[in-house]
Symmetry: D2
Subunit: 366 residues, 4 copies
Amino acid sequence: MRADVLRFGLPDPGDVSGLRSAIESGAVDPHSIAAVIGKTHGNGLVNDYTRGYLAQSLSQLISEKTGETPQAVRQRIPLIFSGGVEGVLSPHYTVFTIGEDPSPPNGKALAIGVGFTPDLNPEDIGRRRQIDLTAAAVQDAMNEAAIDEAADVHFVQVKGPAFALADIIASERRGAAPVTDNPGKLVGCGRAASALGVGKALGEIASDRAVERAALKDFGAYSAVASCSAGVEVRANEIMVLGMSDKWSGPLIATHAAMADALDIGAIHGAIRSLDFSSNGQLSAEQARRLRVGFVKCEASRDGLVRGKPHAMLNDGDIDQQRHIRAAVGAIVASVVNDTALFVSGGAEHQGPYGGGMIALIAERG
Amino acid sequence: MRADVLRFGLPDPGDVSGLRSAIESGAVDPHSIAAVIGKTHGNGLVNDYTRGYLAQSLSQLISEKTGETPQAVRQRIPLIFSGGVEGVLSPHYTVFTIGEDPSPPNGKALAIGVGFTPDLNPEDIGRRRQIDLTAAAVQDAMNEAAIDEAADVHFVQVKGPAFALADIIASERRGAAPVTDNPGKLVGCGRAASALGVGKALGEIASDRAVERAALKDFGAYSAVASCSAGVEVRANEIMVLGMSDKWSGPLIATHAAMADALDIGAIHGAIRSLDFSSNGQLSAEQARRLRVGFVKCEASRDGLVRGKPHAMLNDGDIDQQRHIRAAVGAIVASVVNDTALFVSGGAEHQGPYGGGMIALIAERG
Amino acid sequence: MRADVLRFGLPDPGDVSGLRSAIESGAVDPHSIAAVIGKTHGNGLVNDYTRGYLAQSLSQLISEKTGETPQAVRQRIPLIFSGGVEGVLSPHYTVFTIGEDPSPPNGKALAIGVGFTPDLNPEDIGRRRQIDLTAAAVQDAMNEAAIDEAADVHFVQVKGPAFALADIIASERRGAAPVTDNPGKLVGCGRAASALGVGKALGEIASDRAVERAALKDFGAYSAVASCSAGVEVRANEIMVLGMSDKWSGPLIATHAAMADALDIGAIHGAIRSLDFSSNGQLSAEQARRLRVGFVKCEASRDGLVRGKPHAMLNDGDIDQQRHIRAAVGAIVASVVNDTALFVSGGAEHQGPYGGGMIALIAERG
Amino acid sequence: MRADVLRFGLPDPGDVSGLRSAIESGAVDPHSIAAVIGKTHGNGLVNDYTRGYLAQSLSQLISEKTGETPQAVRQRIPLIFSGGVEGVLSPHYTVFTIGEDPSPPNGKALAIGVGFTPDLNPEDIGRRRQIDLTAAAVQDAMNEAAIDEAADVHFVQVKGPAFALADIIASERRGAAPVTDNPGKLVGCGRAASALGVGKALGEIASDRAVERAALKDFGAYSAVASCSAGVEVRANEIMVLGMSDKWSGPLIATHAAMADALDIGAIHGAIRSLDFSSNGQLSAEQARRLRVGFVKCEASRDGLVRGKPHAMLNDGDIDQQRHIRAAVGAIVASVVNDTALFVSGGAEHQGPYGGGMIALIAERG
């Protein structure tokens, strides 16, 4: 098997002409699409409908090309979108395909696996059920990807459900109260539980720490490869695992690094060096073309400090903290990798070190 | 003469206890204060009252300590504040003092000069009067600083007036219509005219290009050392010039660099190298202590692209473009200089290259 | 012919289950749908993608049920959505159908006509071409609706194109510069020109005042029935005319009133009285059920005053003025008509008196 | 004694020229000022510094005129400001004075009393200590005002402390964790506890329900006269009680009404009728001049519905729910009383019925 990764610009969540052209030109076989991950124009919060819009646009395009129903497309292919292209970031989506490769494997190459939990209700979010179902689905995805060791996993994207107020109230009324009645806060609980599930599956977090009471409390428990987000447009945790496997072939390799804090530019330099880039501050335009996709998780540090100086992100009533930190950390990464079409997601609860986050990159072999 | 530069954290625009303690301990002679420049908690737009609040707090503190009236303090000392500490940025203010130095000058050292235009009306903003009065005031400030050559000027901060809608309408009613009736847009016109004035004074822009019709049109005309902002709390262009002069002594040196675009991390590395820092990506915490203050100007590129990829800043109805770009470029600079208490200001019309901006740094000699 | 008007709640722009159920139960014949107008969850500004999302959702639903392509649905049926449900307002969409009526007309009844201009380019917006094409399309729609006299027209909705920065720049590059390079401001120019076109078609504005140079200048020229908005999801001016005609039958009647300013609650009371409601401040819940749909246009007064006291809407860098005024005027109307699912749209340039706007209501005969 | 109430427009939080002129003309004796309540330009959330700015401006003005220190002014006079003039609302401040009256009392007239709790720490907010200290301070203020019966109290304003993240973390570190580490949520807890304290003092809430565990839970427990807000600029609960007392004289009278929900325009009409206004929808300009001040509390209903239809306020990541609801309910009240300089405050936890709020008005006798 051989994985490929293609990135397309997104002029508007209703405009998927990039993938359409690629399918129509034969560059992408729509049956080979295993997952799509992207960054849309919205605010990345509960009332962000650009994620659902792009999912609708893509599921219809793929449906039109494969003959599946749009519903079947959505059940087969994780369509994982995060809103918020603050600062220099550029809206885009990345298509992951899995094809046959006649040439035999030659060492390890990029491997992809996907998984889904059963549907989750508002009362499951942030709770044991979400943790454990996520862990199981990650294990399934690793098996599918034929990744033998957790150390070969470089990125696990989880997109779980968010619920608007009406759903939360409906749950309360049937006697199944969610952990909070605040829609925005419930999203954070969901990211936390999902990350604990990833860490549990990969052995990064011991089973007795990957538990409900650790969520948003025991921040020493984290996964360095998890990237979790949520949106009202999905109902199950949708999971994509990226790693290296000797059962796969092709030119693509993956790497990742934990980011200790928002200014940890050293981690970014380390990640690109591990992909055999030589860099003196910023990849050249030519080098940057070797990069296929970059994933970043980040958060506004909960102690209100960055390197000992106060930030204002958590006191802000005008701009959500996630929008602040995506703009900041996204720009730092973009300035090093010389590319603004990055998947940068806020809310890094248990996803990388407390106050920091993680970065994962896929590139062609140098 | 000897210039000194002290930076204080700002917990709240009403809390100037940092400077108060420094005065009361004898570390700062309040009579020696020549200018204060800072970054406050507000949105940095027309309805940002944190700048005026801090100006009120500081003018009262200094008044209390020198015996001047608060009004006299404001007329003597430029109090130049810019709102907006997006992302990792940290609210702070920097006090510039000028004292006697018994030791003779030994080569060039940091020199400071200040200047004021007469009061400006709404109808002056963006127009020839603002350009020419600014140029004259910059020349006065250079003379005061005993900076002989324009090449020795590394930073010119201009804070000019902004006007809320009521002022604009009052001007229209007395037959003196401003260049636009949009308060936010008028601010941009004022930054443009101020920058053209700086560039004219320093010979960076030829006199026949430093004219009213060039404002917001001829973006090839720019100053690489100008940083212009505006606020409703001032009525004249208040100007501070920083440069190097052999009439001054002391350990401080200044540098600057034009930034070609928002991702021009090379310019930042260049600026710190010119201060004799060796850096492999980020100053160490120890190195960073040698840095006294950093000034950055930046803007969302008007062609909607960063390195060829679309950004979303200029289409955004929720977050002003200036808040986006400050978060982004501020973070990039912070990640290199390992310091978040930076004066980062958006709206770089004619202040550095089109789509880019500038950076100026003051440090102790290495 | 007989017009019907059905309103559906909108849980999410991707959820058109209300209309789906109505079609599947036989309550709505999808072939009879003449227009859909609705209010979506977004910010109502340039980067509001909820309008396009709902248009995609509805065009696909109708396509699925009629066998037309989605593109054909969009060319046949104006799908006119305005973003922004601030304050108490509730997201919804209203379906207008035209059916046969075996019973003969008996006096005047609600009549509906639709029209489209050719596609408009960025450089057409705010200009003579947009004014004149709109006027012609309004006339076509009146003819289609068999409304003989302009006095029988109670509401003309125009939805025209908005353009993001990339489109504006592309126009400039091919030598066809739009009237402004600011995407948000261009939207206002488009509303203004569209309203002038409506007023010209209906004789509310003399031909020599319904001209390009009047746009955003001569605010004495206005239409009391025009409601104009714009979005990136359309490329032509799409027009729906509602009025009374003796060629139509059915129980529905329409009315409208100009609102002199944001607090003109008297105009609202007048409009409901003209529908034979007796009211002492607020319609009862039973009375409110007779109301089928309400349309409101409003604006933040450009002189910065409401009844002589300053408002802060036009100085605000955090919340767009349209969001402020929709929240305010929408609530006032809702408090009188006892209904929050109202189509309230900001930006009332030449749509009702300067600083005010208009209200139109459709109800069952009392 | 005789109470007077004077309202001044606020062009800018640094511009208190209205009161300055009134003092300098002899219209206001600065020693007679008992409280100032106002509505400023900020967002009304944690990072709103316009409240502190106005408090600083006023305390300096009064200090200058009375010879007290600014600190003494603040300890003597509650300076209670709420940010957020959304929609049609107008920034202003209202000065309450207490003077001697040679004429004997003749029936009941407006009476004013003020009170302060001791300073509160972050860990006190939302807890029993805040409830009980508030109740005691309300009782003190009633005694001072010589209001004998709770039924004669028409308005109790409480302004308590808000804490930014740094304060919350400092409390946690010294082992005194606040009820939440979210600065915005802590504000809501403080309003809730303060309102429970008011209701307890006035007998509106039984002692066994005015307890910590009722806060933000038992919403059936409410005060119909409490209006509670919080800001970083105060450290104690500052309290002003307004009511009617036969120990006072003068022309002013007060009234109040509970608002059942955001559309309860009937309550507003009821309140103005109780002040002997005849109204058919809106006070005339002449009638409105009789009104001295209006106070409104409101909230976005927590069940997500207004009159059975969904609102979007609690899902919104761009505009805080308080800004939405102030714009909406403020406009409804303004449209009835024909005045936009109203004190409208969001966050009505236990202040009026669940999902509603309250209105209090002071007017000259009709």
